[in-house]
Symmetry: D2
Subunit: 370 residues, 4 copies
């Protein structure tokens, strides 16, 4: 289903950038789970643009409005629907250049797919704006995971050519939540040079991309399936839904192309009476199934396609070559804002996988732990 | 659904390495499509082990037996079921070391998930053997795509540290099918050094991995969906089902992390009255939807986890550290054999995406072309 | 998926009776289809209570508000989301007797399923109120079907013990739409006695039920599937979602239990160069697949469980027998209002079945006709 | 998906009447569940034709062959695939009259849907033969339900105009399994007159139908969903997949059309510290969710369409009226054999619903009971 994904828990996403609202339906939740508005607001805040030269000048209140499935701060067990209003829209910016296909965007594919009936204002359904709805829904899931002892953490592994500190060890990871308003980094010292590099690109009317790394701890071994409902298939399916994501890898990922098996294999060891792996090159997943180690994945976020520099393109209705200078308000880099999108969508995916194995009721009553 | 994937066309995979047979159910095909046994046998042959020091000594006839959905060489339109018998099984090899978790394999996760009831012989449902069923089913789809003007081609982009020649140009790609029995390479001269590097690793009781690149041509612009049924989500979901795949990227993929938007964006241009892109860094997909350019993706295949060198591990029932020396018959590298697995699964995914847009009947009656 | 159904086109329903709004997401529509607000308002009007002694005194404006997927009166091709505000809510009516399980309602099952966290106000997600959202979404589909030459018509076959005139002939059916505000009857003369019988039951603090019959014309032979996506499975799945529906039959249905095959079989005949059946005892479906004759189904709608007469029940938290006198505003009969619910949900189901066979694009470009 | 149904547990059915085998894939089972071949053989035996004038002379061994997912008599937790070989096929019987559309059968719809490429031999995928695969798969589920304290029982409520004894009371039902080889009846005395009536119809070259009633006990209150995954929607979807089923009703079903609410409502009462209903007119389901009372449903099975009497029909390729005298081997009544089909498919549906709520693991570790 096009805008719906999930098995035991499902997520439906809808809305357009300049429509009245975007939103989501989250179905398959147990009743009585906390819908923690403070937590959700924190997640929304991390996605919000700040109009500070690092992100778009379009700033939105991003208040989450619950339409169904919530009563007195708790889930009712029926479909949870939420809306996020679009307020700060300036469709005029787009109208002027609507005939010119923006390179790297979905303008052309939308024309072909929707035969000219697409809502092109602000990118319509293709806008990164839509991710605000997934953040709100995923934040509900992330909050539920906390009570189940599962944590999801995403940091900017690389941005504008600058790397964060590496995850030092596979086991015993203690991750602290980044302060709101700061970049999600293992090493906060890297924020200043990253910001500088982003601003430099922005000053040249250009944009930059990066890599986001997500770590999930607390998932019991045995969750996920061989073949099509593998942890990797599920999370990859979800994260490729995020605009600008063009790749994903688990554990050591592409680096393993040049490794030998003797190095790539994660040796099993007993530690404190539990089975662990000495390394985590497989990113917590063997045969599609969680092995109890942290689940580690990285995505690449391409540089924002909206740039101010003039670009070669085509006038679609006129069917002729043209030059485009994009107006509107855009991010020179969406990587910092995308971190929380990845984090919350991953949380949704993990909650779904847990619910298949342990049942809907386990969302409320807890996972069996040794 | 665990072993089932697809929307308009669905694929269900079943079987264990040492069970009587593995197989697949392919549903949602139109009636009257060719089930070309010669073509399918060719695909099966490309996956077959040769017992030549490059792949496992377990060789199988891999004859595809149709149980339903085929009559007189044509699909009947109902669920197509096929079996591939397992004949050359030596379960004894595994029984000796069944208590010792093979690093990099799914032994541990299977124990946790299936509570000791898994079929552990030869890796059971986690074995690469199961991919033979997906090759057979995907070959049916690939053959159907040919009549629709869609071609899928996979080559070994990198293996054992040696690279194939790069795809030279995004448009106007003319790809020739590799000869059976040869590595799938753009530059056949690279086969000898690749083979040498694989054999060198095998001689040391070790294994190597690589990168597989797939190119799909002929998919009309407009196929695929924003959000969860994107071309990328669909193909990533499918390909992460393949054992040993730990990453996937589309177009320039992870390289774009360090690029600027002005370089990453693919400029649109008119060429011979058609809209194309001057480059193809987005791998033929914008906003999740095919843009008419070749769809290009790469996966990383980790080095085969089965190696002959002694490895540290855990005795699962005894819950103590142990050392494992794997017996059995194994591939020092599965990349060459995995190429056709990726090719045929991709073909299945593309046929599903086309069928959603154009309907089941279009599989038989053709796609609308300008 | 709990609140989502459909293959090529999917429908997600959400909302509670006394929440801010109810709504629906309709996904898988082609772009450029008419979203005809007049037509939709007509369908909403037919479901509306009139507060006239025949239906509940809770009357709602039932204005349909489009949140996504619609621009300038046409579908954009992305998920269409609509809301219907709840305005005339009087939750106090329910609070007084919340501990007492209403017989025939979902109070008890909601307590058990949702462990006390359900939204019990006005029946919450179980309220017939929620059907307003499905009417709005189904009306969009029904309108699309019209342009495809497919008509859906539902009449009250029986209510409060009074029968409508029978469908006289299987083929060549010409059905006229009932006037708004009137009962949907083949014979308008039956409305007066039906109204009288309903009022009589209401006057005694009681309620009545009935049978709704739906006829679909214009579906080409070949639509639907054997086994699980049969026309019957699909429509039954949808219609059992409607509160109070407790049975469904196709064609002659339960009457065939006592028939002989020689009478039940529909003889095929050539008529004007087309293949038709002389009778339509199978209700337009053979082997799960439409045969080109009108699709005919009937559902039974049980008498409204909310009645004013005192009833025996249980005090749930106190776990003791109790007596309940229901307050609030209720329909002595929901059959007349349910007719349009059945009609529009059937329209959705038929549009989905057509889209699987002919593709999403056919919704806009038309079905192939001989 | 056409031949696949289910959420947490899914069932895929394949095969044709005269193909090499029919079969099923049952996915989503926990590991370690009993696969009780004696129990399964008993279920297969109840579906088997006896060639005794009551059912077709085509008798099959109906040995169930497990291809995957079973080891040492237990599920392995991966997709369970089974085959039932077709041995006693006489395709020649059909070839003679292949151009003549059999009334009441799917010949015409298959021609239209599959454009002449269908496997028409013995009815192909539309044959009642295919239900043998669903019986085998459903028997696995029924056996699992037993260990969970859930029983499913189906009797012939009516056949050839003769009724079985009625279910006497809603609660405290003690149902005994019918002896193999006997009709499934509450009152065994009714078998002789039913047999006589069936034989009488058969002797006239005609056929008869009937009504099958299924009772499920032991399902905890709270299972099932409002809207699309209601107990009724799920079971109706499944049972309309069975050839010849043309109607389904729950509880009092169609009888409620003429009832008043005060009679139809099931009063709640405390009994032995548990909440029960005094009557069970709603068939154990309120608001789509099980209420802990026996789930009761009835289907109508139309008279077998294959009759020996001459029938009017059409020669499909010649497009002209014709007369058909069916050859081949047919049942004058399939109701007795269909009982176990309904029973086992219902068992599958119930196991799926339980697994959604309590998780896959609960299949093995038991349901929470008060």
């Amino acid at each position: 289903m096009k805008n719906t994904f999930g098995s035991a828990v499902s997520l439906t996403i809808f809305g357009e950038s300049h429509g009245p609202a975007i939103g989501a339906v989250l179905d398959g939740l147990a009743a009585g789970l906390p819908v923690d508005e403070t937590f959700i607001a924190d997640r929304m805040d991390r996605r919000r643009a700040r109009g500070d030269g690092l992100s778009t000048a379009r700033t939105e209140a991003d208040k989450v409005e619950f339409v169904s499935g919530v009563l007195d701060g708790r889930t009712t067990g029926t479909a949870l629907t939420l809306l996020v209003r679009n307020t700060n829209t300036r469709s005029g910016d787009y109208a002027k250049t609507a005939a010119l296909l923006r390179p790297g965007h979905a303008d052309y594919t939308a024309f072909e797919k929707y035969e000219g009936f697409q809502d092109a204002r602000g990118g319509g359904h293709f806008s990164g704006r839509i991710t605000a709805a997934s953040v709100a829904a995923g934040a509900v899931c992330e909050r539920v995971l906390r009570d189940l002892g599962v944590r999801v953490y995403t940091h900017i592994a690389r941005c504008a050519g600058i790397e964060d500190a590496p995850l030092s060890s596979a086991a015993g990871l203690v991750l602290s939540e980044p302060e709101p308003g700061r970049f999600a980094l293992l090493d906060p010292e890297r924020e200043a040079p990253m910001q500088a590099a982003i601003r430099a690109a922005g000053a040249e009317g250009d944009s930059v991309g990066g890599v986001l790394e997500t770590i999930v701890t607390g998932v019991p071994a045995g969750v996920g399936e061989p073949w099509f409902d593998s942890v990797e298939s599920t999370l990859a399916h979800l994260l490729f839904a995020v605009p600008a994501v063009k790749g994903i890898e688990f554990g050591a990922g592409f680096a393993m192309a040049d490794w030998r098996g003797s190095f790539a294999n994660d040796a099993f060891r007993m530690r404190d009476g539990r089975i662990v792996t000495a390394t985590n090159h497989n990113g917590g997943v063997n045969g599609g199934i969680a092995n109890g180690m942290p689940i580690v994945l990285r995505t690449v976020v391409k540089p924002t396609p909206s740039i101010y520099r003039a670009q070669q393109t085509v006038d679609y209705p006129a069917r002729r070559d043209a030059e485009l200078s994009i107006q509107g308000r855009h991010d020179p880099c969406i990587v910092p804002r995308a971190a929380v999108v990845q984090n919350t969508l991953t949380a949704f995916g993990i909650l779904d996988l847990l619910s298949v194995r342990y049942g809907t009721l386990a969302q409320k009553h807890g996972l069996p732990r040794d």
